[in-house]
């Protein structure tokens, strides 16, 4: 699904990612852990194509294609999805309008029929229910005045609607209490499938109790310093990052 080879990335002329190699197979769930500032969000932005992230070396293949040649919206239509660490507030655009525009834009790009208002509404309600996303939230401008938990649930709703092939979840657990964490991780687990890969970025191990990964990578200062199975997350919980990072 995703092949990253010796990826070097500059932000504002400063090297942030310093040679990342990572391979995520179809249906696999990988966790990326690491201290603040290690480059986790940078990696997620590079994958989504955000401006200002300059690839100086290396390559990224997504479904066998060079990701760099694709526009931001092409990547999305090809099934790449990033759940933002800090979802953006968009005053004046209701969540509902946004969801419909996004879904139909992707369907159109893939040559599928666009959904009419009735079919779309039915689909949204079906997906919103389990995530506790209320009608009221759908009518409000996107993310404006949403609590931290509401923003994260709205991100997962987008993911559920858009049904990506590769989802990158950037600190989807941050700022969530136990109940909200459960709702969000149940939502994510419901989307696990043999055709869908996920990269779960997190600072803490607790999310990985709910979303159990196939592999865990530790990112530090722009490099992957360790890779292991799900037990690596527990080890980190015990020892903290300091030991591993220094190792």
């Amino acid at each position: 699904m995703l092949e990253i080879k010796d990826l070097h990335v500059n932000v504002d002329g400063k090297e942030i990612l310093k040679g990342i190699t990572l391979s995520v197979g179809t249906g696999e769930v990988h966790a990326i852990m690491g201290p603040n500032g290690s480059g986790k969000s940078t990696l997620s932005y590079v994958l989504s194509g955000r401006e200002g992230y300059e690839i100086t070396k290396g390559e990224i293949l997504y479904k066998g294609k060079d990701l760099r040649a694709m526009e931001i919206e092409e990547r999305a239509a090809a099934g790449l999805f990033l759940a933002f660490q800090y979802p953006i507030e968009i005053p004046g655009v209701t969540t509902m309008t946004f969801l419909k525009t996004a879904l139909n834009a992707q369907r159109k790009a893939r040559g599928e029929e666009e959904l009419d208002a009735v079919k779309f509404l039915r689909l949204v309600r079906e997906k919103a229910g389990p995530l506790n996303v209320s009608e009221d939230m759908l009518k409000r401008p996107l993310n404006v005045g949403f609590s931290g938990g509401e923003k994260k649930r709205a991100e997962i709703l987008q993911m559920a609607l858009l049904e990506p092939s590769l989802a990158v979840l950037d600190e989807t657990d941050s700022g969530l209490d136990i109940d909200a964490l459960k709702v969000v991780s149940d939502g994510v687990n419901a989307l696990r499938s043999p055709d869908r890969s996920m990269i779960v970025i997190t600072h803490y191990q607790r999310l990985l109790n709910h979303i159990v990964p196939d592999k865990v990578h530790v990112l530090s200062a722009g490099r992957i310093v360790r890779t292991g199975g799900k037990e690596l997350a527990h080890e980190l919980e015990e020892t903290g990052y300091a030991d591993i990072v220094e190792a």
Binding site: I72, E73, I90, F98, P141
Partner: protein, 442 residues
Amino acid sequence: MTASIEEQYLEAFSALAPQGDPAWLLARRRMARDIFAAAGFPHRRVEAWRYTDLRRALAKEGYVPAQRYDGPLAYDVETVGPGAAAFGDVERHMLVCVNGFFRPDLSSADLPDGVSIKPLSEAVKETGFEDFLTTDDNLHPVNALNSALMQDGLVIRVEAGKDAGKPLHMVHVTTSAGASAAHMRHVIALEEDAKLCLLETHLGQGGAGYLANHVTETHLGEGAALTHIKLQDEAKDALHVAANNLRLAANAKYYGFVLALGARLSRHETDAVFKGEGAHADMHGALALRGKQLGDISTYVDHAVPGCSSNAHVKSVLDEEATGVFQGRVLVAKDAQKTDGRQLSNALLLSRDAGMNAKPELEIYADDVQCAHGSTIGELDGTALFYLRSRGIDEATARSLLIRAFLDEVLETIPLDGVKQDIGSQIDVWFRASALAGSETR
């Protein structure tokens, strides 16, 4: 010695000897002509026009009087034509003017009970009509020019207590290809508790460098309510200069909205004076401009009496090398306690070469008032664009979503759904044209 552009202009219009003007009008015209000749066209050094140099914009062309045209139009103003049939789905009465002259043959005949419509040339013959022409020619040289040269216009009156019902739709079409000028004077007079919704569209044939000058005298009696929505979509080389002089008696209500899309240079000025307590005026608008267009929405509000409220909110979307202007002043007289006066300008610049000049001012002599004014200038939020695109929304659509979201705040104030939707789709059409132009240069 060469003649000034003002002398040349007046000379070109001297042949317009108006037939059968009453004595008061002849005297008024003479005086107005002298005022204009002394003051000249407004330019950068005239404070109220400092960003909108009309004199410079006019200097290039030798203007001649617009010619009355009685033939058929190239399109049916009611359903097709430029402006994408604005308000085509709104049930309304049509009032059509071509090249500055009212065309009853193209207009609706079945007017609602209590509503009367006359061309200016007829109305000026009625005794007492001069009382409706309260615009002070001394304050504004273009209004003086209009008083000196006005030929025709619509005089719309609604009797006390009558609700005109369906909107009246004034359509102004210019067919002349050259540098012609029309000076129209309209009067909208609502007696006590009368109600009217007036729509206006201004259209012209592509590229024509004409000048359309309108002065509208609006008199709202006690408790009267006027909704006044205007779409300015003049030809791209045209000049459009409109002044709306608004007088509100006690408890009168005015809702005004203008969308300016067309013309090389346009100005929509509202001068509101509160004459009685408890009155309210909204003077909102939007500019959507590109190329080298300049659009000016300015509002001057005189809170002469206590207990009135006014609100002017203008949103501007400026692409390429376009310039937006918002000037305005809220003046609160010493005795005008409990005044609520607001002015706000928000501009969105879509290009580095676009610019906005906003200068809202307050002049307050009373102490118990609520007044606010402000202006913001910003760009499209790059982070928001990225977020939308990361969900698969193409860049043009993402931009239009954000631009519409920006404008919707003022569009939402339009009190008629059909009209609101039409104004919205005019903006979408504008945006699509802009996006196309953008993708060609990119």
